[in-house]
Symmetry: C2
Subunit: 417 residues, 2 copies
């Protein structure tokens, strides 16, 4: 068997640790240079493969590749570009195979969430049919934590740690000011469909913080919510609200959609946090502050979870090892053996069972009243935020790597996206 090259691409929204997976893939491939050739990376994700815009990772130093492990964001660029179904756009899949063939690529490592698992699965199937079989391995990544089978998804643990910590810190702040000033603090967190990140914010209840959590899984009940906030303020003089961006009314409208118009008639500008903060002010009169963490939360490598970094790396490494063992069309997974002490190992799942399955918070992870989490959820979450893994600093700021990203010479004609 001749030595094949590998292709690696990052997909969708990036995280604090997706580069740790890239590091795991590339370092492991380098260790097996007898069996695996160059690792080419897609510039800006799968678009790089379609347009034959490949990055030669062999031109990056060992030190720079190692530094990916502590660098947030997508070091090779990512994209939001979902390949259509095979029926609708077979042309794109065929192009991928052509590019792989032209560059002697026999391994496809695709680092992403649900959509990329699906793409990965189709590439593996189609390449077989087209007579140029490629081993397609999906390396999981998503702050949304919504992939099935794997215990959790790299990227999530670090966001969870950041949101739990930030919510705790801001709650301490409000607690010290509540006598004469702010009584309500609303933090809006990511999670359009699944409330995993909001659940991490709810952990501050264990430190005595009065917190009300709003999940996308639970229809918003304004009356019950305001009553809960009022009770908290009456007892503690303040209240923290952790709000999923995907929180919605019973009719499906997001809380953020308030029909707000500016003076030019433009649609509303803000997130859900100011809506909820003002709703409380209007009903109960409490002074508020609100924060929208947005990208700060998923990029916060400075506060990454050690478990998360280790798993992200291990899943990238396992992807290459499984490929070298001959596996195809799989996703390496995290298998939890024990929560306390936290013990995990790497397993694998067939992509046919991963593609197009979304994992929500189980109902028994959310408290009966819908505003908090259960002990079962706590037991699940704590191990994922365990440990710190600080990046190096220089002149007071984290020292993150920017790669050289040199192109591989093209061999094919242009391709219209």
């Amino acid at each position: 068997m001749s030595k094949k090259n590998a292709f690696y691409a990052q997909s969708g929204g990036v995280t604090a640790v997706i580069n740790a997976s890239a590091c795991g893939v590339i370092e492991t491939a380098r260790k097996h240079s007898d069996k695996i050739g160059n690792v080419y990376a897609g510039r800006n994700g799968i678009i790089g493969a379609l347009t034959e815009d490949l990055i030669d990772t062999s031109l990056e130093s060992d030190a720079d590749i190692a530094a990916l492990k502590h660098t947030p964001s997508g070091g090779f660029g990512s994209c939001r570009f979902k390949l259509k179904s095979l029926e609708e756009n077979k042309r794109e899949y065929e192009r991928l195979i052509e590019v792989f063939k032209a560059h002697d690529i026999g391994y496809f490592f695709y680092n992403g969430g649900g959509d990329s698992a699906d793409t990965c699965y189709k590439v593996s199937q189609l390449s077989e049919k087209m007579g140029y079989p490629v081993q397609a391995i999906h390396v999981p990544k998503t702050v949304d934590n919504d992939l099935p089978i794997t215990d959790n998804c790299p990227g999530f643990g670090s966001v969870a740690k950041y949101i739990a910590t930030s919510t705790l810190e801001a709650s301490f702040d409000v607690r010290s000011m509540s006598k004469t000033s702010t009584k309500i603090f609303v933090i809006e967190v990511m999670g359009r469909h699944a409330g995993w990140i909001a659940a991490a914010g709810a952990l501050v209840a264990d430190q005595g913080i009065p917190v009300v959590t709003l999940f996308p899984e639970i229809e918003f009940d304004q009356e019950a919510f305001l009553a809960k906030v009022k009770a908290n303020v009456e007892e503690h003089d303040y209240c923290t609200i952790v709000l999923s961006e995907g929180c919605h009314w019973p009719d499906g409208r997001f809380l953020a959609e308030q029909g707000t118009r500016d003076s030019f008639g433009h649609a509303q500008l803000g997130g859900a946090a100011p809506v909820v903060a003002n709703m409380i002010k209007d009903a109960l009169g409490y002074k508020f502050h609100w924060a929208v963490a947005d990208y700060l939360q998923r990029a916060a490598r400075h506060l990454a979870s050690k478990s998360d970094v280790e798993q992200a790396y291990a899943l990238g490494k396992a992807g290459v090892e499984y490929a070298l063992e001959g596996h195809n069309s799989i996703m390496p997974t995290v298998v939890r053996k024990s929560s306390d002490p936290y013990v995990w190992e790497i397993g694998k799942a067939p992509l046919s069972e991963v593609a197009n399955v979304e994992k929500f918070m189980p109902r028994d992870f959310i408290s009966e009243d819908g505003f908090g989490i259960t002990d079962k959820c706590r037991e699940y979450l704590y191990p994922l935020i365990e440990g710190e893994d600080y990046p190096p600093y220089e002149k007071g700021m984290p020292k993150y790597v920017t790669l050289k990203l040199e192109s591989v010479a093209r061999k094919l004609s242009d391709f219209e996206l």
Copy 2:
């Protein structure tokens, strides 16, 4: 001379390191227990003194007091309560002196910004006149960094480090997504009058990030701003905007005030960030994301600057030492001896020169076009964010202390605020 007790209070918006100053005051007082009695703290700041709601810090363990050094927020509670002028409300000042007299308090350590420096100054003057002289020492604290004479203010360095780091991380994130997705990231930071915090965000330019900074010191020029953003996106494919909450139009209106109304006719909900993000979208069509860091920035003890923590502690310690040397009506200050290597020492300033003076960014710290910072500003800022000082963690979250906060028995009648 009989051994007098001390009174300590936290004032105004709290920070990641105001408790480090409290720790410096209390630990130093404990070391000099031959000369100084108990340290009583005001519950919720100066209100605690006015209402004779004092906390007996002697009942807190050495370990808990030491833990204040790594705990954000105001451990004894703070308040936004400005004493009126002596002429307008002499009654409040007289009450303070009565409470001090009743509890044999001879030292007043007031930990705050400009307003509290003024109060501190007046207490020292009035107590003399009333025949119960109190040594009043102002321990500086403000994330706004707007106190005069001192090189910088405790609290600022840690916010600066947090904003510089978060802006860098989010910019890396956007850079990796810009091909098909977000091209504009707006981060709104604190600073209603002074742009010090925004200036810290501008440091990311040194790491190759295309960044446009909007200072409260510079009137907003929409045309020039949009041209700058456009040029950045055309060159780099993305652009980061660091936006002071106090950024305003030439007529003085804040950018946040857009006359926005919701469907019920309520006034606008959002901050300045969504306004600027939508302005760019409308004019240039770029996809955006925005974050409002709000309290997360000033509470972020998990990413405190080591310089800042050390100075906060040293200023609290110096306050007590100066008092024991007989000084009165002063504020300990940070004196910069050298920027590279960073060398500083503690000095002192008379409160008469501190009270009611606000320090803005010097014009030569802001670049000529008004959208960035100069080398002079860089030289000033870098030492302040130098070094990391991580809190201890337990179960994945920072282990912050909550004090017992036991009350001192009251001796006086009630006082109406």
